[in-house]
Symmetry: C2
Subunit: 214 residues, 2 copies
């Protein structure tokens, strides 16, 4: 398709598409003449991914570019690549090499989960637990157990849906890993807001039941 | 206790405490002499609440003040007051009076939940669902069912812990409602980051299992 059709199909303005091309977020189309290029499904797909990263996840364009680079050329094994890609999304917990995250480690051990101590999620959990403690409302073991059980079940659902086939972009080596990383990043960016909204609405439903409002 | 002890006990610097007193977030102590006031447990407690709102929830001071006003003087019945207080926390979904949130309503009906259509959580869910749709990854019914079931169970746990006794601040009329609203607001501000971190770590654990990393 021509760039005008790409604009129409994607809903992304021409100036924005040109900007993404210039910045290297969107790969160039196939040159047909000196002034015309042909775009395909992989460009439409990539535009949706960019939109998810810069829109829902709120990433600055340069940060989105870094995440796209991880999707295109996964670094290390899939486990590391998944961790790195998701760690590129906010919130950014400051990692302190002298902190061994005692609160987070205690919680993860309690839940009996496998984890990489360098993973950003560990620092993120430590900060969240510390904030609750400082507010005088430390998270109880009962709450950790309840949350942990349900979130693990949700994660099992998520991973069961992880694509293992090659992504639209082609069949180069590492393509299955690319699709998995893309799914993990996009799923984190797009589904976290859905989860928080659903949780607040679930509270309203439970409160209505307790208070007999209907 | 004297203000110096309040500083020590709370860990909040004197200048910050004076600022909160001036802005009316912290009620004045009992005047003992022209230059000395006596502070109590309720001041310590209030400082923790302020810290949760301005720290973990990231609210500007004036917004935190508005939430504290809702805690102190609940408006309407408990169901409305809970909704209003939680809606004062980010993210702020823009509510459009001409939008009837078709995606959010469909999802809430699917889950069979009671809800107030004016509640900010509805607009929040609509935006999150629309972002996923625009990224070409609409949320499937299977995902809604899985997330909805587990988040409802977590909400039941949360509400079962909701305090029904009077808060530390005293026994004025409406005090039980104040404690409940405070719990809802603080719980939302402090527990949402814990939930997101636990979810990312649960993904890592499930991925490790799938990939046989250990």
């Amino acid at each position: 398709m021509r760039v005008s059709e790409l604009v129409e199909e994607s809903g992304v303005p021409l100036a924005t598409i040109k900007y993404y091309l210039r910045e290297g977020l969107l790969p160039p189309g196939t040159a047909m003449t000196a002034t015309q290029a042909e775009y395909g499904e992989q460009h439409l797909h990539r535009l949706r991914v960019i939109r998810a990263l810069t829109g829902a996840a709120g990433l600055p364009v340069q940060q989105a570019k870094a995440v796209l680079a991880l999707i295109d050329s996964p670094d290390g094994d899939l486990f590391d690549a998944l961790g790195q890609a998701v760690a590129a999304l906010p919130p950014y917990a400051v990692r302190d090499p002298h902190d061994d995250y005692p609160r987070a480690r205690a919680v993860i051990h309690r839940l009996g989960q496998v984890y990489d101590p360098r993973y950003a999620g560990v620092a993120q959990l430590e900060h969240a637990l510390m904030a609750a403690e400082q507010a005088g409302l430390p998270i109880s073991d009962a709450r950790i157990d309840a949350y942990g059980r349900h979130l693990h079940a949700m994660a099992e659902f998520d991973l069961a849906q992880m694509p293992t086939s090659a992504p639209l972009d082609g069949a180069e080596a590492g393509a299955p890993a690319s699709a998995a990383i893309e799914y993990a990043v996009i799923g984190t960016a797009l589904y976290e807001p859905v989860i928080l909204a659903l949780r607040r609405l679930a509270h309203q439903d439970v409160a209505a039941g307790l208070l007999d409002v209907d």
